[in-house]
C-alpha cells in the first residue's frame, strides 16, 4: 500500500532520486551475523580515522622540528582536538585488529575460493596499506618511537637497494623525509586505500558475500544490524579515547633504541629479536607471501587445501604469540644486529 503522507512522499522521492531500491538485492540471511560484518566494521573504523585525521591536519606541522611541538600543542591547548587525536589512535588500533579478524574469518571459511580470488587479493593489499598508514602515522609523532620506527624503515630501505630509495633522506634534498611521509599519510595512501576499498566493495556487490545458505534476506535488512554494530563501535572508540588517551614520548634522538613499536608491528619486532634486521623483511614477506598464495594453493579440496588451512592457522597463532612475546620481552636493540 502506497504511503500518501508527506513523510512517505519525501522518502519515496529520496529513494527514487538516490536509487536506494538498488539496495534490495538478495543476500544470505547468515550475512546478518557479526562475523560477516567485520569487514564493514573495519571500514567504519577507517571512516573515523579519515574524519579525525582531517581535523588533525589543521593542527599538525609536518616540518621535522615543528612536528613534535605541534602535537604537544594539540595535547595541551585544544581539548576537542586532543580527544579526536586519541580517537584517531584508537581507530587505527581498531582498524588493524578488525582487518586481522576479518582476514582470519574469511580465511577460515575459505572465502577466497573461485571466483573470489580478486576480492581476497584486494583485501590483502588493503591490509598492507593499513600497515603503511600505521607506520607513517607513527613516524609523524616525531617522538622517540617515531625516530626508531623511521630508523628501522630507513635501514630496511637500504637493504632493498634503489627500490628503497624513496624512504631515505637523500631521495630529494629539497624536502625533509618527514614531510614526504606526511604526504604519503594524508594523500597517497588514503587515495590508494579508497580505490582499493571501492574495488573491494564492487567485487562484493557483484560476486556476493561468501555466506552459505539461500539468499533469503536483502542487503537493506543487512544495514540495520550493521548500523547497530557500527554505532556501538564508534561509541566504544569514543569511550576508549576518553578513558585511555594516547601519549607522546619525548622528541626522538637518533641512534637510541628504547621503545617498542605500535602493537600491530610487534610480531615484526619479535622476528627482529630472533633474526636481527633480516626479520623485519622476512616476517612480512612470509605473511604477505602466504596470503597472496592462499587462493592458489587452496584451489581444490584435498591435501593442498588442508595444508593451506593448517599453515594459515599456524601462521595466525604464531603472529599472536609473537605479539604477546614482544610485548612482554625486554626491549632490545636491533639496528646494530645487522642482517
Amino acid at each position: 500500500m502506497l504511503d500518501e503522507s508527506p513523510t512517505g512522499g519525501a522518502l519515496r522521492w529520496f529513494r527514487t532520486r538516490f536509487a536506494l531500491d538498488a539496495m534490495d538485492y538478495p543476500v544470505s540471511a547468515r550475512a546478518n551475523r557479526l562475523d560477516f560484518m567485520i569487514g564493514a566494521l573495519t571500514l567504519v573504523a577507517i571512516v573515523v580515522l579519515a574524519v579525525t585525521g582531517i581535523v588533525l591536519t589543521q593542527f599538525y606541522n609536518p616540518s621535522p622540528l615543528g612536528a613534535h611541538e605541534s602535537i604537544r600543542y594539540i595535547m595541551t591547548t585544544t581539548p576537542g582536538v586532543t580527544i579526536l587525536r586519541d580517537a584517531h589512535v584508537w581507530s587505527a588500533s581498531a582498524a588493524l585488529a578488525l582487518v586481522f579478524a576479518h582476514l582470519a574469518a574469511v580465511f577460515w571459511r575459505r572465502g577466497f575460493r573461485t571466483p573470489r580470488e580478486g576480492l581476497w587479493w584486494t583485501g590483502v593489499l588493503l591490509l598492507a596499506i593499513l600497515f603503511a598508514l600505521a607506520f607513517t602515522g607513527t613516524v609523524l609523532r616525531a617522538d622517540q618511537e617515531a625516530v626508531e620506527a623511521l630508523a628501522h624503515a630507513t635501514a630496511g630501505a637500504g637493504y632493498a637497494g634503489p627500490l628503497g630509495a624513496i624512504l631515505t633522506p637523500d631521495f630529494t634534498p629539497a624536502t625533509p623525509l618527514l614531510a614526504r611521509l606526511y604526504g604519503l599519510h594524508v594523500s597517497v595512501l588514503p587515495l590508494v586505500l579508497l580505490s582499493l576499498v571501492a574495488l573491494h566493495l564492487w567485487l562484493i556487490r557483484h560476486l556476493g558475500v561468501s555466506a552459505p545458505g539461500p539468499a533469503s534476506a536483502t542487503f537493506r535488512s543487512h544495514l540495520r544490524p550493521l548500523g547497530g554494530f557500527s554505532l556501538i563501535l564508534v561509541g566504544l572508540l569514543a569511550a576508549a579515547a576518553l578513558s585511555w588517551p594516547a601519549n607522546l614520548l619525548p622528541p626522538g634522538v637518533a641512534g637510541s633504541e628504547l621503545t617498542k613499536p605500535f602493537w600491530p608491528f610487534l610480531w615484526i619486532y619479535a622476528a627482529e629479536n630472533l633474526f636481527g634486521m633480516s626479520g623485519m623483511l622476512v616476517a612480512p614477506a612470509v605473511l604477505f607471501g602466504f596470503l597472496a598464495l592462499a587462493p592458489i594453493t587452496d584451489r581444490q579440496d584435498g591435501t593442498s587445501a588442508k595444508i593451506t588451512r593448517v599453515a594459515g592457522v599456524v601462521l595466525f597463532v604464531l603472529m599472536i604469540a609473537a605479539i604477546v612475546y614482544a610485548a612482554v620481552a625486554p626491549g632490545q636493540s636491533h639496528l646494530d644486529m645487522g642482517m
Binding site: 634534498p173 556501538i232 614520548l249
Partner: protein, 185 residues
C-alpha cells in the same frame, strides 16, 4: 616465428636487466656516513660542533647547507683513517632563518650523508630553545627515554561531557538498532 622469438628474447633480456638493477646492491659507489651535529638548531653567525662517522677512509667531503633557495658550501673536510671527522662548523651570519639539510657531499657531487637542521637568528635562541625538547640534556650529551611526557592535557568540561554523551548515545542507539533487528526476525 623468428620475429616472435626475437621479441621474446628482447622482453626476457629487459626483464633480467631490470631485475638485476632492482635487486642489486645500492647503485651509489660511496660509503654512506652519518652526520651528528651537537645541536639541530643552528645559529646564523654561530658555530656548531659536527661529528661525521662511517665514511670512507681519508676522503674529502664538502659540507653543504641545502635549502629551498639553493645550496652553500660551508667547509671542506677530510676523514681520518677510521672514516671519521670532527669540525667546528661556522654558520654564515647572513643565512636566512629556515629549515635546511646539512649534507656531506663527495667529490663527484653525491650526497653521502645528511641531517635536517633549522637555522635561527642569534637573538631568538634562548636557553630553553627547541633543543630543550630533544631529550634531557646532561653534560652536553642528549639523554632520551621511552617514558611518555607528563603533559598537562587540555581539558574542557563541555568537550568532555559532549564526548561522554556522544559515546553513550552511540552505544545505546546501536543497541536499539540491534534489538529491533532481533524483533524483526
Amino acid at each position: 616465428m623468428r620475429a616472435g622469438m626475437s621479441k621474446t628474447m628482447i622482453v626476457s633480456a629487459l626483464m633480467v636487466a631490470s631485475g638485476a638493477v632492482a635487486f642489486s646492491g645500492p647503485a651509489w659507489a660511496h660509503e654512506k656516513g652519518v652526520l651528528q651535529p651537537a645541536s639541530r638548531t643552528l645559529v646564523a653567525g654561530g658555530t656548531v660542533e659536527l661529528l661525521g662517522k662511517e665514511f670512507g677512509k681519508n676522503v674529502q667531503l664538502s659540507l653543504m647547507l641545502i635549502g629551498t633557495r639553493g645550496r652553500r658550501e660551508l667547509l671542506k673536510v677530510r676523514t681520518d683513517s677510521t672514516g671519521r671527522f670532527t669540525v667546528e662548523l661556522s654558520i654564515p651570519p647572513e643565512t636566512i632563518e629556515a629549515e635546511y639539510r646539512l649534507a656531506a657531499m663527495a667529490a663527484d657531487g653525491d650526497v653521502v650523508a645528511s641531517v635536517d637542521v633549522v637555522v635561527v637568528a642569534g637573538a631568538l635562541v634562548s636557553p630553553s630553545g627547541m633543543d630543550e625538547h630533544a631529550g634531557h640534556e646532561e653534560g652536553g650529551a642528549q639523554m632520551t627515554t621511552a617514558e611518555p611526557l607528563a603533559l598537562e592535557r587540555a581539558r574542557s568540561g563541555i568537550v568532555t561531557i559532549g564526548a561522554v554523551v556522544f559515546a553513550v548515545v552511540s552505544i545505546l542507539a546501536g543497541g536499539l538498532l540491534l534489538r529491533h533487528r532481533v524483533a524483526d526476525e
